[in-house]
């Protein structure tokens, strides 16, 4: 398989995953805000904190209001992480490897791209938002299912997995990072019920609420939730699960020694902590380190299997 194609599949997969994750966190935040008392509601800013695009956001918007944040996360093409930009990037990557991706999956992605643009205005309204985001999440689940059901499970599929699960590991760690900051003053015991709501919303951002209830059988609270989201071996959005899946794909690829080494370090790091015992400061530092590790692993993958970077790529040519 061509190195360039491997790279395109990897990025296609990352952008598709990013689209879905963004749609999920927006939906959940909207629900959370409705449940919290007005005075302590964190508003919409945490979503921008999760994506880490605060500087870009502040360059273009005056405040972190609902309308501004949603515009930025869903429809702003200046934000390379917005749903529209990610869909656009996914489609461009897919277009470059159209010969490789099953036609039906390409058609679905193309349709979703058209939907994202044409229904954007509706998606930015309070009334239309939910249906818009739901359609996006469902379409991506369909694309993922179709790829798993129709694409050759060869090296291309391994790169698809690498992209999806590295992106997911990164996003899960970011969501935990931002959402675990305590919303509540420590001594305000009368607000205890809301702390549960906060952790429920973290779980829901990752569609992990139901799974948590089944697997943990304890009340929703900080320690077990953190362990579940970081280390659970069977929850498909936990960082641990993502890293395990990445390893399965890495093991199948040739010339994988260096990548496996970086992966091993990352996994050991993840397993060496009891997240419930970390203070908020420590947790933040730990998650930071985790994200740097995911970045290192990406770097190693690119170095081993992707084509050497080009200086200039502005090329076009007509022909009859």
């Amino acid at each position: 398989m061509l190195s360039r194609v491997a790279e395109n599949i990897y990025w296609l997969s990352r952008y598709v995953e990013r689209t879905e994750n963004t749609a999920r966190i927006v939906t959940v935040n909207a629900n959370l805000l409705m449940d919290l008392p007005k005075g302590i509601a964190p508003g919409w800013r945490p979503l921008i904190d999760i994506t880490g695009a605060n500087a870009l956001f502040e360059e273009h918007y005056k405040d972190y209001g609902e309308r501004q944040v949603l515009k930025f996360l869903i429809g702003d093409e200046r934000n390379s992480g917005s749903i529209l930009s990610a869909l656009e990037a996914a489609r461009e990557n897919c277009r470059t490897i159209r010969d490789f991706v099953p036609r039906e999956a390409w058609e679905l992605l193309n349709e979703l791209h058209i939907f994202g643009r044409e229904q954007l205005a509706k998606g930015l309204t309070k009334g239309g938002r939910h249906a818009y985001l739901k359609h996006i999440v469902q379409s991506i689940q369909t694309i993922t299912g179709m790829l798993s059901g129709t694409m050759m499970h060869d090296q291309g599929y391994d790169f698809l997995h690498l992209g999806r699960f590295l992106e997911r590991a990164d996003m899960t760690s970011r969501i935990i990072d931002v959402r675990s900051a305590s919303l509540l003053p420590a001594e305000a015991t009368e607000l205890r019920p809301f702390e549960t709501i906060q952790w429920v919303s973290v779980l829901k951002s990752l569609t992990g609420y139901q799974a948590y209830r089944r697997s943990e059988q304890v009340r929703v609270q900080r320690g077990p939730v953190l362990r579940f989201l970081l280390q659970h071996a069977a929850f498909p959005r936990s960082v641990g699960y993502c890293l395990d899946t990445v390893r399965v794909s890495l093991e199948k690829l040739p010339r994988n020694e260096a990548s496996l080494r970086v992966h091993g370090r990352l996994k050991r790091n993840l397993e060496g902590v009891v997240p419930g015992r970390l203070s908020h400061q420590q947790l933040h530092a730990f998650l930071d380190e985790l994200q740097v590790g995911v970045g290192d692993l990406h770097g190693e993958i690119a170095k081993t299997w992707f084509p050497p970077p080009l200086e200039s790529q502005s090329q076009s040519q007509t022909q009859g």
């Binding site: 010969d99 090329q315 007509t318 022909q319």
Partner: protein, 516 residues
């Protein structure tokens, strides 16, 4: 999505839009073939008011029975299908850069009886066989020039002659493995060859997709008619390419070389690679080693490449041999080809016969190499290099189509009957400055095919581009790509300039299903 800065090309394309606003059109109760205008031009489906051509007699009645509402609904279904299938081409504009557009398609098929097609097919094979002998001769002994049949000065001024290729023997002696020749039908029903595209002809993927879309939206027509299938093209192309491999003992590694997603025909490059099960590569995926062999960079390391179906123009192929600034090509590719370690299709330099002045010599070329009369005639052509023809052309510009020798895609030509006086004056200056670069042909009365416009069927002009494959044997596509000028009266069918396309049916005289 709104496209802000529309260019000339886009304005022309949008000529179709008024016709697509179905809801605003006035109600038409039914389709009446008696009202269909077919006296001025040869119509491919309608012989006389109310009367279909023999092969399609029943089709007119079928369309009539469907009625305008249903036809419009089917056309809309086709438009949606094309958009969702992502069948696109790229339009260039000066301000807007490259824009990915969906492929304009009209659902009424164009029909050619099988008996006529068989003659055309024989004519195309003859033509391409002669052209390949001609190219090979030009890069070797140049007998045709020594024998005084082809003038040396035409060759001397050819922009597509590649001195780098002199003396090279490509596999099987073939230079143009994939040729796309454009055919047109004049008012009296004669089919002519309008031009031969021997460099990187495109359009075949649209031919294949058009059939797929037609099957989706018109399934019942296929119950009554049995157009001959078109879809084995990809395997024929693969066999054509594989036969060129320098390592015939192994399973050859064939790749499609594309300039990338910004090329107007990128859709087709990807499509063909996918259908053939080959890698679609860009120049940066390939490299040539010290032993002049070509490799591609893969996840497993370097892998040897045997045959390259290149969709990049000659001059961009190899910065070592041609344009040094080309970033699309592969340094050393020509070396590898000369050494016989890789096959290139089409061979570099094949474009020397893809020149409208050379075109005018094709009948002589056929007689010279094959000692036979051309089966399909050329359009009568005036070479402006020839003083009498130059005078005639300048005096009759209003009735002529004047074309530069080496442009494709309908760029840089003058359509006399549709031109203004100042356009003609400007063009006359261009011709006088460089007569060798121009030819003129009488403006043909291009044939028409019924096309959906609003809620009616109106005649629109068409041409036909079949594709001819040559290596160990010759094969011609079943029909080809019918291109249609969607604007009323327009003769320009190029997709880059407001053309659309139709499915092309080669119909057996009596299809069995038809008799039931």
């Amino acid at each position: 999505m709104a496209i802000g800065n529309a260019s000339g090309a886009l304005f022309r394309w949008s000529g179709r839009d008024p016709g697509r606003q179905w809801a605003c059109e006035q109600e038409t109760m039914s389709i009446d073939w008696n009202d269909y205008p077919c006296d001025e031009f040869y119509d491919e489906l309608v012989a006389a008011p109310g009367k279909g051509r023999e092969a399609v007699e029943g089709l007119l009645a079928d369309l009539e029975e469907l009625g305008p509402d249903e036809l419009v609904a089917r056309q809309e279904a086709a438009d949606v299908a094309i958009k969702e299938m992502g069948i696109t081409f790229t339009v260039y504009s000066e301000e807007g850069g490259a824009i990915d557009r969906t492929w304009p398609f009209d659902i009424i098929p164009r029909i050619i009886p099988q008996a006529e097609w068989e003659r055309v097919e024989a004519g195309l094979k003859q033509r391409v066989q002669a052209l390949n002998l001609f190219i090979d001769d030009l890069y070797h002994d140049q007998r045709i020039i020594k024998d005084g049949v082809f003038p040396a000065e035409v060759l001397a001024k050819s922009v597509n002659f590649r001195p780098q290729c002199v003396g090279i023997d490509p596999p099987l002696g073939i230079w143009a493995h994939i040729c796309g020749s454009d055919l047109v039908r004049d008012g009296d029903g004669t089919m002519y060859v309008l031009e031969d595209n021997l460099r990187v002809p495109s359009g075949v993927s649209y031919m294949l997709e058009n059939r797929l879309v037609t099957k989706r939206v018109f399934p019942e027509l296929f119950e009554h008619y049995a157009p001959l299938p078109v879809d084995d093209y990809a395997s024929q192309l693969f066999d054509t390419l594989a036969a060129l491999s320098p390592r015939p003992a192994d399973y050859p590694e064939v790749v499609v070389l594309t300039p990338g997603i910004y090329n107007s025909a990128y859709f087709e490059h990807a499509y063909l690679a996918q259908q053939m099960g080959c890698e679609l590569v860009e120049g940066r995926d390939l490299f040539v080693d010290d032993e002049d062999c070509v490799y591609m960079r893969t996840v497993d390391g370097a892998a040897r490449v045997d045959v390259i179906y290149r969709r990049i123009d000659d001059l961009f192929l190899d910065p070592e041999a041609f344009l040094p600034e080309s970033a699309l090509g592969v340094p050393g590719l020509l070396r590898a080809w000369k050494a016989g370690n890789v096959a290139l299709a089409n061979a570099p330099g094949a474009g020397v016969a893809d020149d409208k002045v050379v075109y005018s010599f094709v009948p002589e070329i056929i007689r010279y190499y094959l000692d036979a009369e051309p089966i399909i005639p050329n359009v009568p052509t005036y070479r402006c290099m020839d003083p009498d023809s130059l005078v005639y052309t300048l005096e009759h510009m209003e009735e002529m189509v004047v074309k530069p020798a080496n442009e494709s895609g309908g760029y840089g030509m003058l359509v006399g009957p549709a031109s203004t006086k100042s356009e003609r004056e400007k063009f006359a200056e261009l011709i006088k400055k460089d007569p060798r670069n121009y030819i003129a042909q009488p403006a043909l009365k291009l044939s028409t095919v019924p096309t959906i416009v609003g809620r009616k069927l109106e005649p629109r002009h068409v041409d036909l581009r079949p594709f001819i494959l040559s290596s160990d044997r010759q094969q011609v596509t079943m029909g080809g790509l019918t291109r249609v000028a969607l604007r009323k009266g327009s003769l320009v069918v190029n997709s880059s300039q407001g053309g659309g396309s139709k499915d092309t049916w080669i119909l057996p005289e009596q299809s069995e299903a038809n008799q039931s």
